[in-house]
Symmetry: C2
C-alpha cells in the first residue's frame, strides 16, 4: 500500500510540525507538549537551529522559574505549493508557518503537456523570486489532476493528461529548484489541505469528494492519505451509475462524471436552454453563447426550477455512490469540494438525503456531510503541507 | 478509526508470532531474523520461558560454532476459536501453532439470543476439556454475524441478531474461561484467517467478500483489519443495486443481498422450478420439498441453463458493487468466500468479467479475483489468530 511516507514520529518531526502549525513556543512548553526529556529536547532544538530550520524568537513570559527561550520555524523558510487543474495553474509561495507570501493563478490547459506546463510553473516561481517572495525554496509540493505513483513521483496513465504518463515531475522540479519535491493527486492534496486548515481539521478518517471538471475522492484513514496499491484509490468518477447513460471520456457508458461534473452540467444546461425548459438558462445563453455550472448555480439561486432540478439530479447520482462508499468505509466525515461545490446547499441537501436514506443507520448516525471550507485554496494548502512534511522529513 | 489493536512491533510479540507461524527456531536464528542483539534476545526469551509462553525444544543443528538451543511456542498453549454463523456454531481448540486439536460444528439459530448461544459455546468447550483437548485456555476469539465494536467487545445493532445489541460477549467469555477474549465481525475473522493460512497469505491490502446467508466484506489495509469509525466498515450487503428490486430484510428495496445471497438464490430457484423453467431444479424440488444454493450449484454442474443463468445474474450484481469498491480502494487482491463460493467458477468468471470491464485499467492491471482456499475453516482460523494475538499482546 502507498500510504504517506510521513508516518515517522521522530522528535525532530514532531517539533517542526508543532512550530509550523502553532507558531513560536517556548522550549519548556515544547518539552511538556511532546513529552521529551530536557536533555533530549535541547539536543534536538540545537540541531534544528544549526540546520537553519528553526530560530530563537526572544523570551517567553515567566512560568515562575527561569524564563524559557521561544523558538519558531525559521522566518527564512519558503515552500512552493502548486495545484495543477485541468484548466488552471495555482501557485502559492508560503513561509514556514504555511502563510502565503505570494499567490498566482493562471488559466492553462493541462493537455499542453508536461514541458509547457512545468515551464510555466517555473516561470511563475521565477517571477515570485524576482518579486521578493523567496531567495531559495526548501521544498516544492505539486498536485496533478490524475493518478500518481507517490513513491516514484510520476503521473501514471492519467486519462486527461496526454504526454504526462510517467513523466519525471518530481525529479525535474527537485533539480530545477535544488530542493526536495513531492507529487500527488489533486484530490489527495485538497483532502490534506482541508484537514490542515479547513472543516476536517484534526479528523483522521474522512472522504474529500471533489466535484469539478471530473470527480474524485481523497481518502484519509487513520490520519494518513490512503492511495491504494497503484496510487489510484479514490478514482470514483468512472464508477458506472447508469448502464444506459451517456458515453464517458473513458469510453464506458454511464460513469458518474459523465452524468454529473462541470462538463456534464454545461451539456445538460445547454440542452435545457435550447428546449425552452429554462428561462434563466435561455437568457444567459443568449447573452454569452455558452453555459457553465455557474449559470446553473445562478439560475437556481433565482428559483429557476430546471436549474434546481439539474442540481438535484446530480446530487442524487453523487449521493448514490457516496452511500455505497459509506457502507464500505464507515468514515467519520464527508467533505464536498471542487468547482461544483459552488452549487451549494441545494446540492448538499440532495447528497445528504440520499446518503442518509441509503446507508446503514449505524454508519450515518454521526456522519456530517459538509462543504469544503477552503474552496479553491484547498489544493495549494495541501501541497504546502506535503512540501513542508517532505522538507522536515529529510532534515533527519 | 478502529484498526487492529495489534500494531505493536515489540520484540516479544515478534518472537511469539514467528514461533507460532513457523515452529521451533534456534535462538541464533531468532536473533538474526528479528535483528535483535544477543543480550536483548536472550532477555526476551528468558522472560517468555518464565511466563510459560515458550519452551526449549532441544538443540539445533550446528551452524559451525556452538550449537544453539531451539525454542518453540509452549506445547501446553491452547486457544479457543469460535465462528458463530446465522445458523451454525463452529469451534476449534488449537495449540500454540494454531493447529486444531479438537473441532465441533453444530446447527444453531443465532436468533435464539446470546444467553442460549453462548451457553452452547461454553458447553462445547466444556466437552472439549473433558475430551482432553485442553486443561486451560490462554485466550478465546469469537466472530459473530453482525457489526461489532471491536474496542468494546460487543455487537452493535446487529440486524439478524435480535437480543445481542451491546451484549457483553467479550466480558462474559473472558470471565467464564479466565483468559483474555476478543470479539470481531465474522467477515473480519474470515479475512484474517485467509491472510494467515489461505490464498491471501502475506497480502497486506485485500478485500475478502463473503457471500452466504448475507453478504459482507472484510477489509485489510496495510496489513491490518480496517473496521471504520463505528466498526461497520465492509457492510456491503445493503448497498442498493436496483431501486426496483425486491424488498430487503433491512426494509430498503433492491439491496445487494436481497438480490443475491443464500436466501435470494433459494427464492429465485423455487420460482424457476415452479415456472417450469428448470428441469434440474424441478426434479430436486420434487425430491426434497425445498431448494437451496447447493441445488443450483448441482444443476449448473449438470449444465442446466436456468441454474447457470441464476448464478451469472448474481455474479453480475456482486461484480458491479466490487467494481465500485476497486475504483475506490485500489486493493491488490479480492477473495470470494462464504457458502455461495461453492457456486465456483461460473460465479467467479462472471464477477471477474464485470470487475475487469468496469473498473479503471490501472486498478485491475494486477488484480487477482480468487476463491477462498480455507472455505468453511476461514472463520475459525481467523478467530484463532486473533485469540493468539491477544494472548501474546497481553503477555507484555
Amino acid at each position: 500500500m502507498e500510504v504517506s511516507v510521513f508516518l515517522s514520529d521522530a522528535p525532530h518531526l514532531r517539533i517542526l510540525c508543532l512550530l509550523r502549525d502553532e507558531g513560536a513556543v517556548s522550549r519548556a512548553e515544547l518539552g511538556d507538549r511532546l513529552e521529551l526529556t530536557r536533555p533530549r529536547l535541547l539536543a534536538e532544538v540545537e540541531r534544528l537551529v544549526a540546520t537553519g530550520l528553526i530560530a530563537e524568537a526572544g523570551m517567553a513570559a515567566s512560568r515562575g522559574g527561569r524564563r524559557s527561550t521561544l523558538v519558531e520555524i525559521h522566518p527564512r523558510l519558503r515552500f512552493a505549493a502548486v495545484d495543477l487543474g485541468a484548466s488552471s495553474i495555482d501557485i502559492e509561495v508560503v513561509n514556514g508557518r504555511l502563510e502565503p507570501v505570494a499567490a498566482y493563478r493562471e488559466a492553462a490547459d493541462i493537455r499542453s503537456g508536461p514541458k509547457v506546463i512545468l515551464q510555466r510553473v517555473n516561470d511563475l516561481l521565477a517571477k515570485a523570486r524576482i518579486d521578493g517572495a523567496y531567495e531559495r525554496l526548501d521544498a516544492v509540493g505539486i498536485g496533478v489532476p490524475g493518478p500518481v505513483s507517490f513513491r516514484d513521483g510520476v503521473p501514471v496513465s492519467p486519462p486527461i493528461m496526454p504526454g504526462w504518463d510517467r513523466y519525471p515531475v518530481r525529479e525535474l522540479l527537485a533539480r530545477e529548484h535544488s530542493c526536495p519535491a513531492v507529487v500527488d493527486n489533486d484530490v489527495n492534496i485538497m483532502a490534506i489541505g482541508e484537514r490542515h486548515g479547513g472543516v476536517a481539521h484534526s479528523i483522521d478518517d474522512f472522504l474529500f469528494v471533489k466535484i469539478g471538471t471530473g470527480i474524485g475522492c481523497g481518502i484519509h484513514l487513520a490520519g494518513a492519505v490512503y492511495r491504494g496499491i497503484d496510487g489510484c484509490a479514490g478514482d470514483i468518477g468512472h464508477i458506472q451509475v447508469d448502464a444506459n447513460g451517456p458515453v464517458c471520456s473513458c469510453g464506458n457508458a454511464g460513469c458518474l462524471e459523465a452524468l454529473f461534473s462541470g462538463a456534464a452540467l454545461a451539456r445538460d444546461a445547454l440542452a435545457a436552454a435550447r428546449a425552452g425548459e429554462s428561462p434563466a438558462l435561455a437568457e444567459r445563453l443568449a447573452a454569452s453563447a455558452e453555459l457553465t455550472a455557474r449559470d446553473v448555480a445562478e439560475g437556481a439561486a433565482e428559483g429557476d426550477v430546471t436549474c434546481i432540478r439539474l442540481i438535484r439530479a446530480g446530487g442524487r447520482r453523487v449521493g448514490g455512490v457516496l452511500a455505497t462508499l459509506v457502507s464500505f468505509a464507515n468514515p467519520s466525515m464527508i467533505v464536498i469540494g471542487g468547482g461544483l461545490a459552488q452549487l451549494g446547499h441545494v446540492l448538499l441537501a440532495e447528497i445528504r438525503s440520499v446518503v442518509y436514506r441509503r446507508s446503514l443507520p449505524l454508519a450515518t448516525g454521526n456522519l456530517p456531510v459538509v462543504l469544503s471550507e477552503l474552496g479553491s485554496r484547498a489544493g495549494v494548502t495541501g501541497a504546502a503541507v506535503l512540501a513542508s512534511d517532505m522538507a522536515f522529513e529529510q532534515a533527519s
